[in-house]
């Protein structure tokens, strides 16, 4: 079955997107990303030496089938985000951007107002905008309205590995969305990723859970398999828990 994910003008076979932070070495990062077969890898622009063509991190991940997704991590408002995205477009020759604006340095929670403002501006400038946001269904519709090509709601605060704490809201977002929904942040284990996919998420983005595990390469493989299993289960339609109706007098006896 052809079950490709399309975002803007690109199609992806893998529904596992990955990040590049927190690995103990560039080599390990490269091996883990190869093992999970991710085709979209996000890099923090602030970590890339854009003036150095030999930048080690970039060299470690550049492969023909891999698309780089620069993120604006570190910016605190819309103005800074737009500037960072333009810089990334120049440096990495891509108009794709993962829009991250988190002025809060402790929990790194995204700022919804600045994110919406920046998304609107970046779409007008021709960017493919992938906004990282709280699992807010209304914000997702507002982002869709201004032209964001997908939404990336968080499952739990970044780096916590707590799983899908925002489950009720993710379900609403998935139900209502006209653009792909990528669950980002909080996914701490392959079972979390599989669960997100079973719910109908179009993809997941995982970084910490792979990078800080004791064996990142094995964990990367486990995530690959979990995302595939979750997607297959979603397409196969899960068996459901039975809910029994409240006993009451017949409502349709008047029809007889």
């Amino acid at each position: 079955m052809n079950d490709l994910l399309t975002i803007a003008d690109k199609t992806f076979q893998s529904r596992l997107f990955t990040g590049t932070g927190k690995f103990s070495s560039n080599q390990l990062m490269s091996d883990a990303l190869m093992a999970c077969e991710s085709e979209l890898i996000t890099v923090a622009l602030k970590r890339v030496d854009v003036n150095n063509e030999q930048d080690q991190m970039l060299k470690s991940i550049m492969r023909p089938h891999i698309n780089l997704l620069p993120n604006t991590s570190g910016v605190r408002n819309a103005k800074e985000a737009v500037f960072a995205a333009q810089l990334a477009r120049e440096a990495l020759e891509t108009n794709w951007v993962k829009l991250e604006i988190h002025p809060d340095p402790k929990y790194l929670l995204p700022d919804p107002i600045e994110t919406l403002k920046a998304a609107e501006e970046l779409v007008k400038l021709g960017f493919v905008v992938m906004p990282y946001i709280h699992a807010d269904p209304v914000l997702c519709k507002r982002l869709e309205d201004v032209g964001a090509q997908c939404v990336m709601p968080l499952g739990a605060p970044i780096g916590t590995n707590k799983g899908l704490k925002t489950l009720d809201f993710l379900e609403i977002i998935i139900e209502q969305s006209n653009v792909p929904v990528i669950v980002d942040a909080g996914i701490g284990s392959p079972s979390h990723a599989a669960f997100a996919m079973e719910l109908g998420a179009d993809a997941v983005l995982v970084n910490t859970a792979i990078a800080v595990s004791q064996k990142p390469i094995e964990m990367a493989k486990a995530f690959k398999m979990a995302v595939e299993a979750g997607r297959i289960a979603y397409n196969a339609k899960l068996a459901t828990v039975k809910h029994h109706a409240e006993a009451s007098s017949p409502l349709t006896s008047f029809l007889n």
Partner: protein, 370 residues
């Protein structure tokens, strides 16, 4: 630019859709009943012949969901027919152009007399209805009628010919709350036979009307098919497909579904397809099981017995004592109706019936300044 419904609709085929509904099995129905969030494939199962043995289960679930989301209330509304002038030929409608009936369009004085009567009954939500006669009852007439009565009603809904987006925007400025526009049938091939002449024969323009309404920023859009024209299962499915598209695209708008069955009228046509009471209950419950929040509306087309029971099965709004002829309340009660109503009880009697059934009739549920 958002995708319009026509793009989605064109990917479907009427016969194949009907076959896929009819092919649903008891297992598919049980699967759908066991879920808490249902999709359009589940909806197909719930309107399929295989779901008939599960009607009581569907009704019980439908009642519970409706109580959870709407409580023990029923919204009351009343239609006011402003004109029976019409330039369309519709084979099933009493207003059809070739039908030799006296034509009347209410004057300001007529409208105010009718309104005084409806206000005395307690109504605060009104539905203004016209035929399609652009020269006499075009947008300027509708807008003028709204201006005339807007201080007497908290909520004004219209059921008139499909308009352009700019025209809807103009009426929204004048306090329009909702628009009901029924596709009649989603069977493109047969649509022309039911609407051989007049602007209404343009299937696509009608199909795209809710999209124009959505873009205009209207508060509420009412959808529906006229049951009796073509297969009710397929028409129900396409109504649900339409609803889901609109909800996803125009997410700030509320939606309602109506369930009109063909009724006798002057110069009338027998329904091509029969929809029994059981079929109608199945359809209403299926819509509620598909969507917890959509408003489901029931008119006086249906019988007393049917309406007494259906208020427990998912319906959230009800009309009463309706007249389907312009001036029918006090100005000219004897003129010919668009169709015969079935439940002729007074507003007071309907309110009493609801109260005896543990339901509160709600007369006002909107404030224009909010």
């Amino acid at each position: 630019m958002n995708t319009s419904f026509q793009t989605i609709f064109d990917t479907y085929n009427w016969e194949m859709t009907l076959n896929s509904i009819n092919a649903k099995t008891a297992q598919d129905v049980e699967f759908a009943l066991a879920k808490t969030k249902r999709d359009l494939e589940d909806f197909k199962a719930l309107i399929s012949p295989a779901a008939r043995p599960y009607l009581e289960q569907m009704a019980q679930q439908s009642r519970l969901i409706t109580k959870k989301r709407f409580g023990n209330t029923i919204q009351m509304y009343v239609p006011m027919y402003l004109s029976n002038e019409c330039q369309n030929i519709c084979t099933y409608c009493g207003f059809s152009m070739t039908n030799k009936i006296p034509r009347r369009t209410l004057t300001d004085a007529d409208i105010l007399k009718e309104v005084a009567f409806l206000k005395s009954k307690g109504y605060d939500h009104i539905l203004l209805v016209t035929g399609e006669a652009n020269k006499t009852v075009g947008v300027p007439y509708i807008k003028h009628a709204m201006e005339l009565i807007k201080h007497q009603f908290s909520n004004i809904t219209i059921e008139v010919q499909p308009l352009h987006q700019q025209e809807y925007e103009e009426l929204i400025e004048a306090n329009l709350y909702a628009v009901l526009v029924y596709q009649e049938t989603y069977n493109r091939a047969e649509y022309k036979k039911h609407h051989p002449k007049g602007k209404k024969s343009n299937f696509d323009f009608r199909l795209e009307t809710p999209d124009r309404l959505g873009r205009s920023g209207i508060h509420k859009i009412g959808l529906g098919a006229l049951f009796g024209l073509e297969d009710w299962r397929a028409d129900s499915f396409f109504t649900a497909l339409h609803l889901k598209h609109l909800q996803k695209t125009y997410w700030k708008t509320k939606y309602s579904i109506s369930f009109p069955r063909l009724r006798p009228h002057s110069g009338g046509l027998e329904p091509k397809v029969e929809m029994t009471d059981s079929d109608l209950v199945q359809t209403i419950c299926a819509f509620r099981l598909l969507d917890d929040d959509v408003e489901l509306s029931m008119s006086t087309r249906e019988s007393e017995t049917f309406r007494n029971h259906i208020v427990h099965l998912g319906i959230t709004s009800l009309s009463a004592e309706s007249k389907t002829n312009p001036g029918g309340y006090v100005v000219e009660p004897q003129s010919l109706e668009q169709f015969e109503i079935s439940d002729e009880r007074s507003t007071e009697a309907i309110a009493k019936m609801l109260q005896e059934n543990g339901l509160e009739p709600v007369w006002k549920d909107w404030e224009n300044t909010w």
